[in-house]
């Protein structure tokens, strides 16, 4: 087998933090090499060192293969079109000007390869985050590189798109490309991995083969076994705390009715584009709607009024942490107290940071945290505000297995205190495992509701069904 890139003893500091400590890594042709580790273990840092974005303090990197990298944080230009983003840097030119015709001709080919059905002239800003991720993948594929590194590409994807991506990866492997794949979804690892390097606190703590069990992986990365991945503790439901009645916005969603009772976790499943995020945002007052009502604890909410919603006891953890959840220039502490401004209880702040096991100091700028730890900050912000009803839109995106369980325990604690949770998630095991009931949406409508214990197949059957209006 040909080794394309050999890294030995890579060490990297950020000020006083040691992000990498003597890590070895081989990238072989025709192999999928998985990097596994908790949030902040150093995976993205290793990728950035390999890509030459960060320098390293010690160690050697050898190899001549061309490198394409899909970074954890999306790097698209929102104001440009899909096609322009695909060919950014390498725009086809004619007589010195951008050759639009050529661009439009080549874009569909690339989009087809990742199975994305969007208008090449659409602005990237108007696309969902999963679609943006697929564009990023298409762009990397176009480089025909010898080594392809994918840093948590599936965090924002649904099942179907993930399947597609894994297929593409297998195909590239057959063509002799060396792949590095980072994910927190252990099932995906079992499907494609040839080798697994486990990182903990910047050190490589073991290399596993393709047959490694989830239990073994978890123990190596977290340092202790986890018995229950979805530890939902059910409560007897109380009075309705959130009632969405006949909510409709033309072109986005229609006649949505969902009720969440005190002590309950209700899940919303569905494919990308089913309208789940739109409903969550409308209920919270970020966007408007045409008709229908939203009530929190019996009080009707005014349309399009976020402050009123928060005052009534509603909270929303948005799906796009960088775009909507965080003030990247501010510190962890400042982000945590964003909702509760005015009540500056330092003890509670440190409490939450500790409970979520945020790896980073309270006075550290959020942008220096690893992706998963940033996500914990967004959740912590709302836990501090202690709303009656919390809507979570993809809350564990990019969060490691251990920290996920911590977040689930916090959800349990909320419902034990008589609060209610509406859980929007594309992670099927999660939405099934943590919800007391699952509402499935398809094409902007409620396609059905499943009780606890439903199977993934049942959910998918509802999610893909065609609704004849």
């Amino acid at each position: 087998m040909k080794t394309l890139i050999t890294a030995r003893g890579i060490t990297k500091h950020f000020g006083a933090t040691k992000a990498l400590d003597g890590v070895d890594l081989d990238i072989n042709a025709g192999e999928v090499h998985v990097l596994l580790g908790e949030n902040g273990a150093g995976k993205s840092t290793l990728v950035k060192v390999l890509a030459g974005i960060h320098g390293h303090d010690a160690g050697t990197i050898e190899g001549h293969a061309s490198l394409a990298v899909i970074h954890q944080e999306l790097a698209l230009v929102p104001e440009l079109s899909v096609a322009e983003n695909l060919f950014l840097n390498r725009l086809p030119r004619r007589f010195g000007f951008v050759d639009r015709a050529e661009m439009r001709r080549r874009a569909p080919e690339l989009l087809d390869r990742v199975g994305l059905d969007v208008d090449p002239d659409a602005k990237v800003r108007d696309l969902g985050i999963a679609q943006q991720q697929m564009i990023e993948i298409a762009r990397a594929l176009d480089k025909d590189a010898g080594v392809l590194i994918l840093d948590e590409p599936t965090a924002v994807l649904t099942e179907t798109e993930t399947d597609r991506l894994l297929q593409i990866m297998v195909q590239l492997r057959q063509n002799g490309v060396g792949l590095v794949f980072i994910t927190h979804h252990l099932d995906e690892i079992q499907r494609v991995a040839d080798r697994i390097t486990v990182l903990r606190d910047g050190r490589s703590v073991g290399v596993l083969g393709p047959k490694a069990t989830t239990r073994h992986m978890i123990e190596l990365m977290v340092g202790r076994p986890i018995d229950e991945q979805y530890p939902r503790a059910r409560q007897r439901p109380g009075q309705p705390l959130l009632s969405i009645e006949g909510l409709t916005r033309r072109g986005a969603f229609e006649d949505i009715s969902i009720e969440v009772h005190a002590g309950e976790v209700v899940g919303i499943a569905g494919l990308v584009g089913a309208g789940r995020t739109e409903v969550a945002r409308a209920a919270f007052g970020v966007d408007g709607y045409d008709h229908g009502t939203v009530e929190v604890d019996g009080k009707p909410l005014r349309r399009g009024d976020v402050q009123a919603a928060i005052k009534a006891g509603l909270g929303l953890v948005p799906e796009d942490r960088k775009g909507q959840g965080l003030v990247l220039t501010a510190t962890v502490g400042q982000n945590l107290e964003l909702v509760t401004l005015g009540d500056r209880d330092q003890k509670r702040l440190h409490d939450i940071a500790g409970k979520l096991r945020i790896k980073g100091r309270v006075e550290q700028p959020v942008k220096e945290l690893s992706g998963g730890n940033q996500q914990k900050v967004v959740i912590g912000k709302w836990l501090l505000a202690d709303p009656k009803v919390l809507i979570l839109d993809e809350p564990t995106r990019g969060v490691d297995v251990g920290a996920k369980v911590e977040i689930y325990e916090l959800i349990n604690r909320m419902t034990a205190q008589g609060r209610a949770v509406l859980l929007v998630s594309s992670d099927l095991p999660e939405v099934i495992g943590m919800s007391d009931r699952v509402v499935v949406m398809a094409h902007g409508r409620v396609a059905g509701e499943l009780p606890r214990g439903a199977t993934q197949d049942q959910v998918m059957a509802l999610a893909v069904q065609e609704i004849s209006a």
Binding site: A16, G323, A330, L338
Partner: protein, 301 residues
Amino acid sequence: MSTISIRKYASENGALAGLVVLALVIAVMQPAFLNAQNLLNVGVQAAVIAIMAFGMTFVVVAGGIDLSVGSIAALAAMVGALTAGPIGLVVGALCGLVNGALISYGKLPPFIATLAMLSVARGLTLVFSEGQPHETDALVTFLGSNLAPMVPLPLLLMLAFFGITGLILTRTNLGRRMYAIGGNEEAAKLSGIDVRRQKLWIYALSGLFAAAAGLVLAGRLGSAGPQAAVGYELDAIAAVVIGGASLSGGVGRATGTLVGALVLAVLRNGLNLLQVPPFWQQVVIGAVIALAALLDSLRRR
């Protein structure tokens, strides 16, 4: 001190280090610079721009810009001279409110809204004054005078505004919200911050501070002129930027702005003492602004 903490210190106080170096160089070339009376003069010269720049700091931290502060200062001073000082302050704050309303409710870009105000406020100043300078009353004149020998009131006012600005930025909800809005407006909105209302207050504060600066300026001169403070908005922005604030929002501190204003004043004073011709002074000042911004961006890498 370890290298890390020295580097941290330097990166947080780059402008301060620049100010010290600048003062040393001038002092070596022209020892008269260190004369107590001259240093007080520098402080007084810095005061007007500094007060204006403090107001600008709120706006810049919140991700905006206010081009109208020079005109608002002139209008406030003129109204103050024609009626009474406090009325000038009210007019300044009102102009700021109009800016804020155009930006948050009219959804105009801050650049456009305040550019319009720049013209309107200057025009009103000319209309009210009929193109003539007007003498200020005792109260306004007092603002520009010495409290005691060697104790110029403008200097004390600058320090007072400095304190207020620091308090607002770091100790009030409004201040914390400025950073949130400038850092990520969407996240601020989804966290329940009434972004539009906050912007109203932010621009009103900028207008109020500009008006105060205008009154101090008129007090020092003993009269309010129709062409007073022309171009001061650019000095105010320069002071904020030299002080390390980012025009893309979310970053900025009161100390930085104070240092930025002092850098400009020291530079002007020094160039005068060194008898650099005024035309060349402009060139040097521009170069220093570019240098400060360059150092800042290098430091951030």
